[in-house]
Symmetry: C2
Subunit: 461 residues, 2 copies
């Protein structure tokens, strides 16, 4: 995609393909209105007010293709800041093809994936981070992923980045000023204060970097693996957990399932429940193969729900299982099932260094006892205090990379300050950090970067 090619007028179907009541074809660019006026028999759009709707016919010579409603947006008051014409036609693939063909013949070209939004970015309607959020918004399948995308589209992440960037620019200005007075050995920038400022910025960067684990998990769903010995009651527990949620999930079309067996929605956060085949015992030892398989899945997950039967499984067996299954960077919940059969089971028999009391959840899947509590714990573990409206959450791997590199550059700045290296080297490191932050909002961008970003959009957006 050549992003500098803004002179073309582009056209695409903006609604999903397939038969429906209506389809919307979008034209954007300098010729959009002129093209529409040539094929539309109705009001003269050139002379019409912006933000108006017009009923009429699309004609191919004398042949009527369809009766349509045209929505007119005159630039810069449009999505792309260019002239935009939206043609609402009957939702027949044949009619849609015909109208697009006529637009092409009249001088438009087919829009590439994301090209309308790319123009919105290039024409300054939104920054790059906001433009990226449009694709996330369209793909969002749960309340929380929707909330993150919406926050980003409305400038949440950008605002944070821009604030940091401004502080850095102020910082840099002082240093650069010193360079201008290089021979006089003045120090406009108080080194101690500068150091404090960099540390403060790094702290903010760190918070954004930390939010990525959560942001990414929310965007893609939180992989949650369920493991346990046979007859621990995994299936019953799974059914209990999923009971009322199934319908809600299935309402949302396009939920990716892949190898995931069940999808659970807790307070708007998607958990992807991955069942393991069950860990089988062999001569009092957990069978190697079972553990192997479980471990593979655990490594790809953020949460492990270990289910055991309080009647059959001894505390030392639970401890052995957990020690075998536990991995770095995974949150563990141990679900003590069949508590109805032994209500006097005590948490302290099971807890210890390998399992805190918080992680021990007594339930009876059969009697639906404590299931809601288990879900709450699951949510708290995965989300914690991460989701609140004030703090920006980074959910893009690209943003994460840029933030990480900016953080590294600031490490170099700090090191330079400590080592008392010449100011021009410090200034260079600051400029590097500025460039990485600028990549996020698109203040600094390359064609490759833009091509990468917008190619993941759908056509017509």
């Amino acid at each position: 995609m050549n992003p500098t090619n803004l002179t073309d007028t582009i056209v695409a179907l903006s609604t999903p393909s397939g038969t429906g009541a209506i389809g919307v074809i979008r034209l954007s660019g300098g010729e959009a209105i002129a093209i529409a006026d040539r094929i539309f028999k109705g009001a003269k759009l050139e002379k019409a007010e912006t933000h108006t709707l017009h009923f009429g016919e699309i004609k191919d010579g004398e042949r009527i293709i369809d009766e349509v409603v045209i929505g007119l947006f005159k630039g810069p008051k449009s999505y792309t800041k260019e002239d935009v014409v939206e043609i609402s036609c009957h939702g027949s693939s044949y009619i849609i093809q015909q109208i697009i063909q006529i637009c092409l013949r009249e001088g438009a070209r087919l829009a590439q994936a994301g090209e309308f939004t790319m123009r919105a970015f290039l024409n300054g309607r939104m920054d790059l981070s906001q433009a990226e959020a449009v694709a996330d918004l369209i793909a969002s399948g749960s309340e929380s992923s929707h909330a993150i995308a919406m926050q980003q589209m409305r400038g949440g992440v950008s605002d944070e980045i821009k604030k940091l960037r401004q502080e850095l620019i102020d910082f840099a200005s002082l240093i650069e000023l010193e360079l201008d007075f290089g021979e006089e050995d003045v120090e406009f920038a108080d080194r101690t204060k500068l150091q404090e400022l960099v540390e403060k910025i790094q702290k903010l960067l760190k918070a954004l970097l930390d939010s990525f684990a959560l942001g990414n998990a929310i965007k893609n769903g939180i992989n949650t693996v369920i493991a346990g010995r046979p007859n621990a009651g995994k299936s019953t527990l799974l059914n209990r957990i999923l009971n009322e949620e199934r319908a809600i999930v299935s309402e949302i079309a396009g939920t990716t399932r892949d190898t995931i067996e069940e999808v659970l929605n807790i307070k708007g956060v998607t958990f992807r429940l991955i069942d393991t085949a069950g860990i089988r015992e062999a001569q009092d030892q957990i069978e190697a193969v079972g553990v192997e398989k479980a471990l593979e899945k655990i490594k790809q997950s953020a949460v492990l729900i270990y289910v055991f039967d309080v009647i059959q499984t001894q505390p030392e067996e639970v401890k052995a299982d957990l020690e075998r299954l536990n991995q770095d960077n995974i949150q563990v919940i141990a679900v003590a099932n069949k508590m109805d059969l032994n209500p006097y089971t005590k948490a302290e028999h099971y807890t210890g260094d390998h399992l805190s009391e918080d992680q021990f959840i007594p339930v009876s899947a059969l009697n639906n006892m404590n299931i809601e509590f288990l879900k709450d714990r699951l949510y708290d573990l995965a989300i914690g205090q991460g989701l609140n409206e004030e703090s920006a959450i980074v959910s893009s791997a690209r943003h994460y990379e840029a933030l990480r590199k900016a953080h590294e550059s600031l490490d170099d700045v700090l090191k330079g300050l400590n080592d008392n290296i010449p100011s021009d080297f410090v200034a260079m490191d600051i400029r590097r950090a500025l460039a990485f932050l600028g990549e996020i909002t698109g203040e600094i961008s390359t064609e490759d970067l833009l091509g990468n970003i917008f190619s993941r959009f759908c056509i017509g957006k």
Copy 2:
């Protein structure tokens, strides 16, 4: 569906479901604008002009669901003649579900299939035949089916019917006037002229009835069966015919294939090519099973393309094959293949009572000789002079039935006139014919009829 329930405000997604750049949610009814005003943070729609577009946010309390553009159509200047609000949101299933949910909570109800168009009919924006054409238009997959649907939507068939109906009403008025003067034995209606009028109307009805075969074929595609002995060159011929067309057909999504093997488009008319297994010979006799199977397919078809090899097949064999395969109501083309091997083959050796010269098409599939001519003949045979812009074409089985019954009632009128039966009986038969014609345009309708018609629409139209 209860068509009298026009007081509800209805809501539905009008674009195909699935992820896309945008989705359009349509609200129609007395509360449409009030509901939109409650959930939309932007311009006050109540006070806005009709046919205007408004950018703003859909909010659920404090939570922003999406940034949207609202199109406002104030009744009666709308599709349904009611107030209509169209919400263009980001094409995420989650967002679409959320917005529809909020509309429901604010007092709208989900629209049933075709309910927007049903309202357009009930509110007098279009007659029933035109409303039905909207569904045909959406389903149209070829130039000719599109043309028929467009003509019907724009009142083509309705105009013809209304003209006939008006003539009948004039006719009936005179008869009914006679009844008022019953005892005086006056004759306002000249019986001879009346008879001429009925005959003229029947002629028009007949033309419409005759057009149904074509209309139905065009709407659903023309079943064309290909039969021939093995090695006649059927496959090569099929490939030649389909060569350039395949790509065109595959561009149009949703083309029904069912058991049809190939779809061919000639001048915008869809031919469904049904291949037969091939007729095998057994002791100089066409094998019973092969013929049986071919006959089954021929019975469901409008056109038979019989392919034979001018080198291998003798004129008497061709004659025997054709006599076995020929059916009532089927158009036959005999394709003499491999003409390159025997260019001196003469048509008159093959033609006769069973095959006219027009039906004999010499080709060489191998050398691509005469293939275009074959296609032209195929088109002419199937369509003839039927497709011209002046004449209305009936493509609906419901219309056909009503026309047929109207024709029958007029037969009774004619019989009554000939038998000199009392005028009140004649008047009754005329009223019956009027009722059948009124069903087509919806001047006379029942809830059952409407329910049937609109249930074949998609939701949101």
